[in-house]
Every structure is written in structure tokens, then in C-alpha cells.
Symmetry: C2
Subunit: 199 residues, 2 copies
Amino acid sequence: MERVLTAKGAATRQRIVEGAAQLIRVEGVQNVGLDDIRGASSTSKSQLFHYFPDGKADLMFAVAQYEAGQVIADQMPQLGDLTTWRKWQAWRRRVIQIYDAQRQACALSALTSQLGTANPATRDIVNALTDEWHAYLAAGVRALKESGEIDARVDVAKSAAAILAAVTGGATLLQSTDRLSYLEDALTEALDGLRRPRR
Amino acid sequence: MERVLTAKGAATRQRIVEGAAQLIRVEGVQNVGLDDIRGASSTSKSQLFHYFPDGKADLMFAVAQYEAGQVIADQMPQLGDLTTWRKWQAWRRRVIQIYDAQRQACALSALTSQLGTANPATRDIVNALTDEWHAYLAAGVRALKESGEIDARVDVAKSAAAILAAVTGGATLLQSTDRLSYLEDALTEALDGLRRPRR
DNA sequence: GCTACTCTGGACCTAGCGGTCCAATCTAGG
DNA sequence: CCTAGATTGGACCGCTAGGTCCAGAGTAGC
């Protein structure tokens, strides 16, 4: 695809992606059709296929990429600076605040389950996101370890994975039960677990 | 709904639900049409609407109920007898084994995200499942506490919630990244965390 | 200002799929 | 057996929504 986009074209494309993302957050993926997106982004059918030649799948892929980027961006700057225990707590509050605000509107999970986990392109997006997120958390755990705030025997990678799973699970449960407490408890336990002395 | 079902009718209805559940596990909800279900269950269109008058939504609801029951049933008998540390470990192995086997085929998550988290009927199913699962875990944590295997200061409800979130998160990550390690690490950390001394 | 290419509008097409209908066929109970 | 109601088969319908097409407007570079 050697597409040449003018500034105007790029802006339109971006408007489509953001409009679609917004709609999907509110309505859910399968309740959003191309005509809805067309309406929301003030474009025409031909523009949708002009910028996304492979149609809806192509567009949904772009939206998934956009949303994956948002996941990390939303947690900044806290996620990028987990160097002290206090900063970990700040991040925890930030995460809870984010998911509390969006509630059911977790676009990414909807998208990935919609685009099909079998789709390799979709999986690449999620894998990249997961890896990046894990790397930030691992860096934070390592920092605590090196500063002596937590036990030296802590397995950095595994702890980071467990914390990531806690957030994911808490968010999933929030989405399906509309209760925030799972996310709060899961994060509290996961972080407290870091500090408890090993035996 | 004063439906009168003969034994034969009930069997057909059950065949439809199980056939649909099976198909959905493999293909994903939105890739399964009524004609697919008809084929898989060796029925006709009229039978689908005979047993599920409100159409596809009605059928999907029945499938979700069926799958929710499977989640708990699959973890038995281990989940029902978490009275010692060794039994917790056995449950952990069981959970990992289950999700390792089904991989992407977590039908429930697909269904709930598909039926819409907004749908109150769907939410009731998931809430009931979550509550039941949490109750089993809480009973297990309480048993450990009473037998003195873990610290008396452990908050039973919160610990159970954290463990549940660990499983959920691990399963979600397994589904989207196809890596089992998140579930393993999350469960390991959540359970180890229980045993670590409080400060 | 010419030209080539991008950008835009919207009518139109079509397949798939949920849903309807009715006639035929079993089956339980008297 | 007889009959009312449950069960079954499958043709048919109509809408939704993704996708196509082409003509016209805008724009960058020469």
C-alpha cells in the first residue's frame, strides 16, 4: 500500500478512526455500522473505503491500534516512573480512576474479542501492548528491588506478570459485573504481596 | 412462557444449546449463524424458534447460562474442597489445566462481550457466577485461616476477590496472547501472597 | 492555469442472515 | 385408535449492512 496522503487526507483518516473509536466505546463494536461511523465522522462511504481499502476489518484494525496506544498513554506519566513505593501507589490510584471512569467502555477488550483472537494481526497488537505494559511494570519492580524497598528474592518478571494479570482481571470483572472492588482488591493484594517478606 | 416440553422436546432443546455452545467455542459468537446451529444440531429453522421464541438472543442467553454452569462444574471437585494448602495447589493445577486445554475457546467471555454488558439478563448470569465462584474461594481462604495455615489477619473476602481476579486476568491474557505463563504466575503470586507473613 | 492525482458525495447493488409460515408428522392420554 | 397439541421440515421473505462505482470538487507541483 503505497498510499500518498496529503495533510487533509491524513486528518480525515484520523477523524474516521477517532470517531469510530468513540462510537465503539459507547455502543459496542457490533452495534456500530459503517453508516454510523460515516455519520459520526461527517464523511461519506467512499471515504471510508478510500482510506481503508479492505473495508470494515481494515478500519477496526486501525481502531484497535489506536485504542492499544491509549491504554498506555492513559497511565502516563505514573506508569513510566515506578521508582518508589509511593509512586506505585500513585499509579494504582491512577489505574483505578481510569477504569472507574470508563466502566463498561473498555474498547480494546471488545475489539479483540470481536476481531477474533485467531487473527494474527490483532494478536500482534495485543502482544505488543502486553509486552510494553509488562516492561514498564518490571522496570518498576526492579527499581524497588534495587533500592531495597522489597525483598531481593522477588522474581521481577513473575511479579510484573502477576500485577498485570491483576489489573486485567480486575478490569474484566469490572466490565462484566460493574463492581470496582475486584480491581481495587486485586491491585491492593498484588502490591502488598510484593512487600511481604519471603520465607 | 408456559411451554410444555415432552422428553423428546427437552432433548432437542438441549441438543440445540450444546451444539450452539460447541460451535461458538470454535468459531466465535459472531461467526455462528442460526443456519450453522441448525446444521450442527441436526434440526430445522422452525425448531430453533419453537424452543427459543425470541430468536437468536433467546438462544444465546440459554447458551450463556449453560456455559456459566460449566465454568464452576469444570473446577469441581477441587473448587468445592479448598480446606488445606495441598488442596489449594490441586485446584491451581486444575485451573491451569482447564484453561490450557481450551485456550482461546473461552466461550463465556465471548458471549458476555457479545450479548452486551448492558443487557441486565446477561449481567445477572455473570454476577451469579462471580458470586458463586467467590463464595467457594472465600470458604477456602477461611478454612486455611481457621486451621492456622495462614495469618489470622487475612481479609477473607478481599483475598478471595484477588484470587478470582488473578484467574480472570490470567485467562484473559491467555486468550489474547496465547501465553499460559500469565495465568501461572498470577495464581502462584496470589496464593503465595496468602501465606506470606503480614507485617 | 494545466494536469494529474487525491479527496468527497451519494446512489446503487447484493449477500447473508434473522425471522415467518404452513403443512406434515409424531406422541401422550383417554 | 383418535384427537389435540407438541414436534419437525424447509421454502420463503425482507431488512440490514458491507461493499461498489462513478462523477465531480479540491489541490499540489510544474
